[in-house]
């Protein structure tokens, strides 16, 4: 209880609240502009959070992402362009409602379900982390090794596109993590005599490059970046009819939120996958399947609550095991490490106030969404008029200064450029980026756990299966590795049958 009160006092500090309101406004603007993602918003925010204490820094990240994910619904409903990938699943449905003159209801439902989903996700986060932390204390290096493998492998398997390319992406991330002084032997690796490389690839410039610079490059390389005009519809009475919809589809709200929270816990499966899964389940189990795609609000209720619930879910493995659930929590973990606060079960004993502050930040961020989200919808016609050709140079300059600020030298900018070009080429050729990020974040932990386990076991690989939990996690990981092989074999078996 003391820790909870401690957490409350940390969040309800005027400075932290001011940071959260600023972060919410920033998240709403970035999320509502098509082409700028929630992850990009986080990457642009971290140079500023670098200069803050851990609580405002984490609260700013939580608030930015929660608001950006909701704001993605605005251009989705009004222009049929999802503001963030998390709104893509139900963008057509929301736009169909707008064409029927129901933009107000679509956005009203989107806002309220986002808030409810976010709050339910926060409750799940609170309960699941406390329960899992007890369990996590029993873990040794073997369990952590398998857990990191499990997280990274499921990130590859659930990532969009080819599993093979997902593995390549992961290995690239793990390789990047090996650059710099080896923590166990103290030997410099792949630094080629550079003193700046000794501390490794600086995390923040790398994230800015991968999420913001690659996006700027994609924008300028695209042939057509023009946006359709915003339809003129009244958005003044946003909550009219929302109560009736929520009452009618109350079960869908809870189902969407639960699916979102559980999907979010899976490493690599963030808010966007949560929304797709939830929309799919909603359509399959609905009594009015034929109405889907024609501007039916039911799917919106499910998926709208799922994506915001997924955000909190992704923090469960991040806080308990130090294994990020998605790209945003990967960035947040990086921020925590930089502040000298290593996530994992020990944080529950060493810093319970911080942990409670994170939970409370989720509640406050989602409650802030109500007035600020309402304002963003009212201002949407103006927001959507901001041309990207004016924004992109401004984003580039923030990236340059942000990367410079971390290292106080142009070395950060060099890393940003290299990683930006790498991410651009990878995405253009169908290599997902999320596994690389997870590889960079988890690489050091995975190697440390692997080497210390090998030293303990004197090279005996069977020792990795010697404890019940590690054996279970090991078998699970191997099963995940086998999924692509099973898929391949099934395809081969199915092919002759078709012929």
């Amino acid at each position: 209880m003391d820790a909870f009160i401690g957490g409350l006092s940390l969040i309800f500090d005027p400075y932290v609240l001011m940071v959260m309101v600023g972060a919410a406004a920033f998240g709403l603007v970035v999320g509502s502009i098509p082409g700028l993602t929630a992850t990009m918003a986080t990457a642009l925010l971290i140079p500023v959070t670098f200069f803050m204490d851990p609580v405002p820094a984490i609260a700013a990240i939580v608030t930015t992402v929660a608001t950006a994910i909701f704001a993605g619904d605005i251009p989705g409903a009004l222009l049929r362009i999802p503001g963030t990938p998390a709104s893509a699943a139900y963008c057509d449905e929301a736009f169909a409602m707008t064409r029927k003159g129901k933009a107000q209801l679509a956005l009203g439902v989107g806002l309220t379900t986002s808030i409810i989903g976010g709050l339910i996700g926060a409750v799940v986060l609170m309960m699941a982390t406390s329960a899992l932390a007890e369990f996590a204390f029993k873990f040794s290096s073997y369990e952590y090794f398998w857990l990191a493998c499990l997280g990274l492998s499921s990130a590859v398997v659930v990532s969009s596109g080819s599993t093979l390319k997902g593995f390549v992406s992961l290995l690239i991330g793990l390789f990047i993590a090996t650059i710099g002084i080896d923590l166990i032997s103290g030997h410099p690796r792949f630094t080629f005599g550079s003193t700046e490389m000794l501390s490794g690839v600086s995390f923040i410039p790398a994230m800015i490059g991968m999420f913001a610079i690659s996006e700027v490059l994609r924008f300028v390389a695209a042939k057509n970046n023009s946006r359709p005009k915003v339809p003129v519809q009244s958005l003044t009475n946003l909550f009219k009819g929302v109560g009736g919809v929520l009452f009618k589809y109350k079960f869908n709200v809870f189902r969407g939120s639960s699916i979102g929270a559980v999907t979010g816990v899976l490493p690599g499966a963030g808010a966007d996958i949560a929304a797709w899964v939830s929309y799919g389940v909603s359509k399959r189990t609905s009594k009015e399947k034929e109405k889907y795609g024609t501007g039916h609000v039911e799917g919106l209720v499910d998926a709208g609550s799922a994506n915001n619930a997924g955000l909190a879910g992704a923090w469960v493995p991040a806080l308990v095991f130090g294994i990020p659930g998605d790209s945003v929590t990967a960035i947040a973990i990086g921020v925590l490490y930089m502040k000298g606060m290593n996530p994992g079960p020990m944080i529950f004993q060493e810093n319970p106030q911080l942990l409670n502050a994170v939970f409370i930040a989720f509640f406050v961020a989602n409650l802030l969404l109500l007035p600020l989200g309402y304002l963003a919808i009212r201002l949407s016609s103006q927001l959507l008029k901001i041309p990207s050709r004016m924004l992109m140079p401004a984003i580039l300059i923030f990236c340059l200064v942000g990367s410079f600020a971390i290292t106080n030298s142009v070395f950060g900018v060099v890393i940003m450029l290299a990683m930006g070009v790498l991410a651009y080429i990878m995405e253009e050729n169908g290599f997902p980026i999320a596994p690389t990020i997870l590889g960079i974040v988890l690489g050091a932990m995975l190697e440390e756990m692997f080497l210390s386990s090998m030293i303990k076991a004197d090279g005996e690989l069977l020792a990795f299966f010697s404890r019940p939990i590690s054996a279970t996690l090991g078998v699970l990981t191997i099963l995940i590795w086998l999924i692509p092989l099973i898929k391949m074999l099934r395809k081969k078996v199915a092919k002759p049958q078709l012929q």
């Binding site: 093979l164 290995l171 940003m416 995975l446 080497l451």
Partner: protein, 165 residues
């Protein structure tokens, strides 16, 4: 800018072999069979396996047999820049962004943050088809905002140029 999978595959294999050879120079832990090279070697082996699979996948794309596969194979030349040829302005803009970052890296310490940032912003605003006056005002405004936010508020030691700012 799309490459055939085989190009990536070959690049990964060559990179991984070079990486593994380089790790041979890393010392083992004192009195142990393990050391700084083990993990990078495992990554290298993984990259070689993935590289080989990508070469096979790229080869399959190029030796298509059905009409659908042929359509895919047209998209699977070793390097596809056809889309880029149709939009020279976008290609120039792409390289202008890269050159702007390189300009910052090489000249910010000499010219100072304000002059470097303003020049980059002005060029980019103009290249992205904004009006001359709007570009000038926007470049000036953004330079001021970033200098204030990072240089004054967050106390980042942004380089000072010959004009003293």
């Amino acid at each position: 800018m799309k490459f055939n999978d085989a190009v990536f595959g070959i690049f990964l294999i060559v990179f991984a072999i070079a990486e593994i050879i380089y790790t041979r120079t890393f010392p083992a832990l004192h009195g142990q069979r393990f050391g700084a090279s083990d993990f990078p070697v495992l990554i290298g082996v993984g990259l070689i396996i993935c590289g080989c699979l990508l070469v096979v996948s790229g080869y399959k794309q190029r030796t298509a047999s059905s009409p659908i596969e042929e359509a895919i194979s047209k998209e699977s030349n070793l390097l596809t820049i056809a889309g880029w040829r149709e939009k020279p302005r976008s290609v120039i803009n792409f390289f202008v962004v890269i050159l702007s970052i390189l300009f910052y890296i090489f000249f910010v310490d000499t010219l100072g943050f304000v002059i470097t940032a303003f020049s980059i912003l002005l060029v980019l605003f103009l290249r992205l088809q904004n009006g001359v006056v709007a570009s000038f005002i926007a470049a000036l405004f953004m330079t001021g905002v970033s200098k204030l936010l990072f240089g004054v508020w967050l106390l980042v030691p942004l380089p000072i140029g010959p004009l003293g700012f």
